[in-house]
Symmetry: C2
Subunit: 244 residues, 2 copies
C-alpha cells in the first residue's frame, strides 16, 4: 500500500503529477512497455524510445506519444530513465498495490487460469476460487480450495477482492457478475462469450478466444484476396476494390 496513491510522486523530475486521463489504447499498451522494461537484460540505466519500442512491439512514435501522457518525455540523446519509467507506469496502473482476485468457474479454462503463474509475478494474487458444482467444491488447485459460490459475498469482503474473473459457461455469467457486483467487486474479467450488464462504476474486460480467431480469419481472408486475385489487380501493399 502506497501513501502516494491519490496524488503525485513527489520529488522526482518528470514524475506523474496528476492522475492522467489516458486513451484506452494507451492504457492497453502500458503493460507491454512495463513487461519490456522488466525484461531488459543489459542493465543500462536509460533506454532509447526506439529500443523500448522494438522490445514492446510497437512503433516508436506511438510509444513517445503514450509516454508523454504520463509526463515522461525522455531526454534527447539519452532516452528514458528505466527505473523512473517503471515507477511511473506501475503507479498509473495501480501496481504498487497487490490486488486480490477471485476466480469463478473451475472447468478446464478455470483450472488453467488458477494455475497460471504469470499473475502473481505481475501484481495479482488469486485468493479464492468458486464454483456451483458440488463435485468441485473442496477440490484443491494451486494451494487454494474451491468454495461454493454462495460463500462469495463473505469471502470477497474478508479478502478485499477487487477483481473477479468469470470462467463459467455463458449461461451462468450474468448471474455470477451480479453476485460479484453485490459483493463489492468493481472490475470483472469475463471469459464467457457474452455481454454482461453491470452498473456504470464496474469495469468489464472481455477475453473471447473465438473472437481472436475470427479476427485472424479476417486477415487470412484478406491475404487470400490480395494474393489470389486474377489479372494483377492488386498493387503490392495496397488493397484495391475487387468485384463489380
Amino acid at each position: 500500500m502506497s501513501h502516494q496513491r491519490h496524488g503525485s510522486i513527489p520529488g522526482r523530475p518528470g514524475a506523474v503529477t496528476a492522475f492522467p486521463d489516458l486513451p484506452e489504447a494507451t492504457i492497453a499498451r502500458l503493460p507491454e512497455y512495463l513487461r519490456a522494461l522488466h525484461n531488459l537484460d543489459d542493465g543500462a540505466d536509460t533506454i532509447s524510445s526506439e529500443a523500448l519500442a522494438t522490445a514492446a512491439g510497437v512503433n516508436s512514435a506511438k510509444l513517445r506519444k503514450d509516454l508523454s501522457h504520463l509526463g515522461s518525455y525522455g531526454t534527447r540523446g539519452v532516452g528514458y530513465d528505466v527505473a523512473l519509467l517503471i515507477e511511473q507506469i506501475e503507479y498509473v496502473l495501480g501496481l504498487d498495490e497487490r490486488r486480490a482476485v477471485c476466480l469463478v468457474g473451475v472447468g478446464n479454462l478455470g483450472h488453467a487460469l488458477a494455475g497460471y503463474d504469470g499473475f502473481a509475478s505481475r501484481g495479482f494474487k488469486i485468493v479464492a476460487l468458486f464454483d456451483a458444482d458440488p463435485a468441485k467444491i473442496g477440490e484443491r488447485i494451486n494451494g487454494l480450495t474451491v468454495r461454493h459460490i454462495e460463500e462469495l459475498g463473505r469471502i470477497a469482503a474478508d479478502e478485499s477482492i477487487a477483481i473477479g474473473v468469470i470462467a463459467t459457461p455463458s449461461s451462468a455469467a450474468q448471474t455470477v457478475a451480479d453476485e460479484l457486483v453485490s459483493a463489492g467487486v468493481t472490475s470483472i474479467l469475463n471469459f464467457a462469450p457474452c455481454v454482461l450488464s453491470v452498473p456504470a462504476n464496474v469495469d468489464v474486460r472481455k477475453v473471447d478466444l473465438a473472437v481472436e480467431l475470427q479476427i485472424l480469419s479476417f486477415h487470412e481472408h484478406r491475404k487470400a484476396s490480395l494474393t489470389a486475385l486474377p489479372g494483377g489487380r492488386v498493387v503490392a501493399g495496397t488493397q484495391e476494390a475487387v468485384g463489380s
Copy 2:
C-alpha cells in the same frame, strides 16, 4: 468453400461489393455483432441498430458506422436485414470457409484451449496438437493425439493449417513461431507473454491474461482516486487533475 471468396456477393441488395479496407477496431467488433445476431431469439427478419447495439454491448452510432464500412446501411424505420447482415459479416471475416487450427503446447492452458467447444461452433477446427515434452506425446485430448513438434511441418501441409495457436512458455514461443512460419502458417494467436518476430505477411494476435488484469487495475486505481479524494475536488463523471 465458397466460390464467392474473392469478389462480391452477387444479386443481393446492399451486399459487399468489394473487399473492404476496415479499421482494426471495426474488425474486432464484427465478431461481436455476429454473435449477437446468431443469438437473437425473437426470430424477427430485421433488427434496429439500437437493438443490435445493445445486444452486442456497443453504442449504436459506432455500430452504424462499422456496418456502413460493409456497405450495410439498413433501412430507415425498418433496420437491418438479419440474414443478409449475417452473410455479409461471415463473408468479410472469411467464415464461409472453416479454417484449420493447430495448437502448440498442451500444458494447463493448452488443455483448456483444446477442450474449448466455442471454437468449432464458430468456424474453427483444431486439427492438430503439438508439444515438445516426450511425456505428453501420444496423450489424447478431445479426440486428438498430441504429436511431437517435429511433425509440425508435415502435418501443417497435410491439413492446410492456416492458424497456429501458441500456448507454450515464453522461452519457447519464438522458436515455435519460426516453425509455424516455416510450415506456411500465416496467422498466429499467441498466449505466451512475449513479442514475436515474424515476417510482414504473418498476422499475430496476442492474448496476455496478465495484461488484461493490469488494464483492470488501472481502472481500479482510477476509481479509487475519484472516490477517495479529500475535499470534493472531483466533479461526478469527470477526472480533474489531482496532486500539485
